[in-house]
Amino acid sequence: MDIDLKVRLGRLDFRNPVLVASGTFGYAREMADLVDFQQLGGIVPKTVTSASRPGNLPPRTVETPSGLLNAIGLDNDGIDHFLEHHLPYLTSLPTAIIGNVAGKTEDDFVELAQKMGQAKGMAGVELNLSCPNVSGGTDFATDPAITKRIVDRCRAVCPHPLIAKLTPNIANIVPIAKAAADGGADAVSLANTFLGMAVDWRRQKPVLGNITGGLSGPAIKPLVLRIVWQVAKANILPIIAVGGIATLDDVMEFLVTGASAIQIGTANFYDPTASVRIVDGLPAAVASLGAGSVREIVGTLKRQA
């Protein structure tokens, strides 16, 4: 039987639900030897900001048990450089490209969304409302009113479908997801990294140059499953799950929990061909549930254990 892998999230169409996450796939060029882009549902390149940023002091990453703590600090050359040097390559690839932007201020977000909106060949724009390493402690996506306002204002200037990428560093994410929906987002990405820290007691110093960082990798998967389930249950808007996904089993867990698509992040670093192997295995896994399409299995979690 032919299994239909296509998924639709608001105005977004992907050939399959397996995307790769911002900041973990470079600008795709870096992965060209390792990944057949045509196999992917989509690519989210590294976050771009208005002005170029040198990024944080090294060390920028440290491994923790089954996890990775990072404080890269959005090292990038700015939106104009991105549009000129990276976007033409990205949009030439045979897969959906989702630009990812982070503003320092609300106005900054609007300006970035407008510039992305004028660019051709992009499938959508992901608003990184949640980078733990740059906003100076105040994530935009911890406040429903600000979240709604940013999405709404970006929507007004950007014709591309919008995805709001939210922070997990909040007690209840449901009102934030609602705010993103009210602002006109097509989908939410759940979630960015969890704030964390590593300490070297012998030197009596924090390990990261930035002191704190964002935790990602297999260690966070149960936390993100819980968040996806909370938002799915509230039936707010389509969900792209991201957090600790590295295997086909992980992907299936998120789909049945209620994500319509997923992004692979940290696993791109330690198993760079994971994304394509997962896509290869997806039809058989979907068929094993007696379904003929990915869409049919989304959110099919039964209430009892």
């Binding site: 900041g23 973990t24 796939f25 470079g26 060029r29 870096e30 992965m31 030897d33 390792l34 590294k46 040198p54 990024g55 090294p58 060390p59 920028r60 990453t61 440290v62 491994e63 048990p65 089954s66 996890g67 990775l68 990072n70 890269i72 090292d75 990798g217 297999p218 590295a246 940290t266 791109n268 670093f269 330690y270 198993d271 760079p272 061909t273």
Partner: protein
């Protein structure tokens, strides 16, 4: 072309104190890697350790017909992953991706190249010595002698840590040793031995940062060319994560460069050493 492949462990033998050589069967990567490039090795089927770790190519392994079929890596046990690596047995798989990084400079028509190593920093130089002396070709290139003489100045903590010295001598390299405690070679830092000998350059160094910094300063005072291979921690090895950066001096001021793709070998004069 960067490849990710499972590799079978052929042997994993101790060379010196806490220092081992693992031999992996992986013909595709062995055929395309050259001296100064590196590999990421990962313990499969576990998420702790999670990430791969970067290791220099020690040398390729050839079959009886001279075709590259395997990869040798020499490693010092320092932490979580290398402790796991030490326990890997013949027949067991290791996940590998490579070849990675830029590799050492080629020096056609130069009389002498001097390599300077500290700690476990000797590992990338064996293949380089063979390439420079024309006893082995890499990445499909024929073996062509480029220089008359290659020296290795090699500093270790103490005698027990000196690993692979015989390999270097057999490869035709002149080896000068220094040790912190005087148990082998000259007592003191390898850069002190180098300063006393003042051999001819160009120089190529690999080792702990303070040693590379001293080497850069010394060779700059001689107005000699010096390249260094950096050992910054890495998460991916192929340019995707931006974690392996080192500060560099550019005409526009200070910037960061990714060691895994723009290095690991840099002209010492371009690095911001402070």
């Amino acid at each position: 072309m960067i490849l990710q492949r499972p590799a079978v462990t052929v042997e994993n033998v101790q060379l010196a104190e806490r220092t081992f050589r693992i031999r992996l069967e992986q013909p595709e990567i062995a055929r395309s890697i050259r001296p100064g490039q590196f590999l990421m090795l990962r313990i499969p089927e576990t998420t702790d350790p999670l990430l791969g770790r970067p290791f220099a190519l020690y040398d390729t392994v050839l079959d009886s017909g001279g075709e590259p079929v395997g990869l040798d890596v020499v490693y010092l046990v320092v932490g979580k992953m290398t402790t796991h690596l030490m326990a890997v047995k013949a027949g067991e798989p290791i996940e590998v991706w490579g070849p990675l990084g830029n590799g050492f400079p080629k020096f056609p028509n130069i009389d002498q190249v001097t390599c300077v190593a500290g700690g476990i920093g000797q590992t990338p130089f064996l293949a380089y010595v063979r390439e420079l002396l024309g006893t082995r070709g890499y990445a499909g290139q024929p073996a062509v002698r480029q220089v008359n003489k290659v020296s290795l100045y090699y500093g270790v903590r103490s005698a027990g840590f000196a690993a692979g010295v015989e390999d270097f001598r057999q490869a035709g390299c002149d080896v000068r040793l220094a040790s912190d405690d005087g148990t082998v070679g000259t007592k003191g830092f390898v850069t002190q031995l180098l300063a006393a000998d003042k051999p001819a350059g160009p120089f190529v160094g690999c080792g702990p940062e303070p040693m590379l910094k001293a080497l850069a300063k010394l060779t700059a005072s001689w107005n000699a060319s010096c390249h260094v291979s950096l050992e910054t921690p890495m998460a991916c090895g192929f340019g995707a994560c931006f974690s392996c950066v080192t500060p560099v001096c550019t005409p526009a001021g200070r910037d960061y460069k990714r060691v895994c793709v723009e290095g690991p070998v840099f002209d010492a004069a371009t690095l911001a050493w402070d």
